[in-house]
């Protein structure tokens, strides 16, 4: 697995209300949720995010509510991977459960600038900044999360487990 895309810089403590505001939680459709992605953070940001782009945030990304609509809205915008200095815990679970890959990398969170080109290999945690010719090392994804990603998310993973148990 490998990702390549343009970076969008976000700040610290981006909460789930900023990712997708509560008033839009009347659908579970990722595409419709994505229309309002980051609306209260910066109304112009959504139109700059293109499929394949990569979000790079500071500390505690995804704090707040348990709404799985947050990772879904991100996925709905075509973003497959988020790099941050750290993640809030419910968001962390929700993201991997839905196949959104998260990488913890304080170094990248510091150095990456808006618009930088990145190439990411989640298995090794290597983040290559193609614009600045730098390489950052993310904390490796825990093996269990790796299994979730390989299975395609929590639901296929549970299906596999149930089949084994039967």
């Amino acid at each position: 697995m490998e990702f390549q895309g343009r970076a969008h810089r976000l700040g610290d403590h981006i909460d789930t209300d900023l990712i997708i505001a509560g008033r839009y939680l009347v659908t579970t459709d990722p595409q419709r949720l994505a229309e309002h992605l980051f609306e209260d953070l910066d109304p112009a940001l959504r139109s700059r995010i293109r499929p394949g782009d990569i979000l790079v945030a500071g500390e505690n990304f995804g704090q707040g509510s348990s709404r799985e609509h947050a990772p879904l809205a991100i996925l709905g915008a075509g973003v497959r991977v988020v790099v941050a200095a750290s993640f809030a815990r419910i968001f962390y679970r929700n993201a991997f459960n839905n196949g959104l890959v998260l990488l913890e990398c304080p170094e990248a969170a510091q150095s990456v600038q808006d618009g930088d080109g990145l190439r990411i290999v989640p298995e090794t945690g290597e983040i290559r900044n193609l614009t600045r010719n730098q390489v950052y090392r993310a904390r490796p994804i825990p093996p269990f999360m790796q299994q979730l990603v390989e299975a395609g998310g929590l639901i296929p993973y549970v299906q596999q487990r149930l089949r084994i148990l039967r």
């Binding site: 403590h13 639901i155 149930l162």
Partner: protein, 426 residues
Amino acid sequence: MGMTITEKILARHAGLPAVKPGDLVECRVDMLFANDITAPLAIQQFERIGVDRVFDPDRVAFVLDHYSPAKDIASAEQCRITREFVRKHGLPHFYDVGRAGVAHVLLAEEGFVLPGELFVGADSHTCNHGALGAFATGVGSSDLAAAMATGRLWFRVPHTLKFVFKGTLRPWVTGKDLVLRVIGDIGVDGARYAAMEFSGPVLQQLSLDERFSITNMAVEAGAKNGIMEPDEVVLEWVQLRARRPFEPVYGDSDAEYAAVYEYDVTDMEPVVAAPPSPDNVVPVTEVQGVRVDQCFIGTCTNGRIEDLRQAARVLAGRRVHPEVRLIVIPATPHVYRQALEEGLIQIFLEAGAAVSTATCGPCIGGHMGVLADGEVCVSTSSRNFIGRMGHRGSRVYLSNPAVAAAAAVAGKIVHPAEVVGSPVAV
């Protein structure tokens, strides 16, 4: 080495003699629930799994509380998804309009959450229930679906931060002020992935309702759960309601904590969290004079009977400022009825407040008091993020119920004692 109450509950539910922070364990889940926002997605995921029944219908609850009574057609459709699922599977614990309340208040009231048990909810404030000595944590819809299908869920055992409250509380200082103070000190990620264990003699001075406000907001510090060891007050309260036998759990005396924070609360004043973050905590006197447009008393944090009593103590015989809207929402039909019987609803109505049927309402900015650009609200809820209660240009101060009531009367943020003159004896 001993274990904390959190570690012990997780060990028991994983069927292991011991666990330690960092361990990944698969636990049996005693009870789970989802609300009208998270249930449709959980149901969708549950159906994808392809099992034909939930693991135990008696251990699954659905509560319509966020956008219910439905605020628009889209939310009506979401509520219907849950209703249809409940009927199809013959699930007994379903709470719809009229019987529904804010889930965290309702499910404790209904005896679904018990000391020593493991409770998960598809809502981040599920940590609320730790005041009963349960391990309770919020998860997303997919996790809930997995638990609904299998009765099990994986957890990383959190390290525990301990908070000890000593001293004597001044009038108008509540459990809400204590938890805001802690969040202000450690920050919105100060307890990320951790268990927050609250203890100390001050807890005994607090009603159970006020203790819930504390564990309720553990998530605002990034915690996985908030918890207190159950005392007599808790055990008596739960005995009256419990739907199953239960066995309380207590931590070992040699349990290890990642950090211990001690507080002498004696000189503490009521505090508020200023916008736009719950850790932006200052004494109420520091922001006094800030003009307000709306005050909101309710939610899973402060919508219980003791909260309404505290608000009524300020509002009795007074009127809401002509330029302020006060919205009071008892968290459950039970709380509503009790407030009615105690004459509190009368006090609110005479003061000029709007009193609503139980719902999360304005807390999440969807209906029942959405804020316009530039408006200021003093709210007893738990989050004041940008746009949380309406327009991204609106601003929310989080406070205890007496501070919110006092602001409604004064038209600006003040210490409740200023409105009341001298505190009324309880």
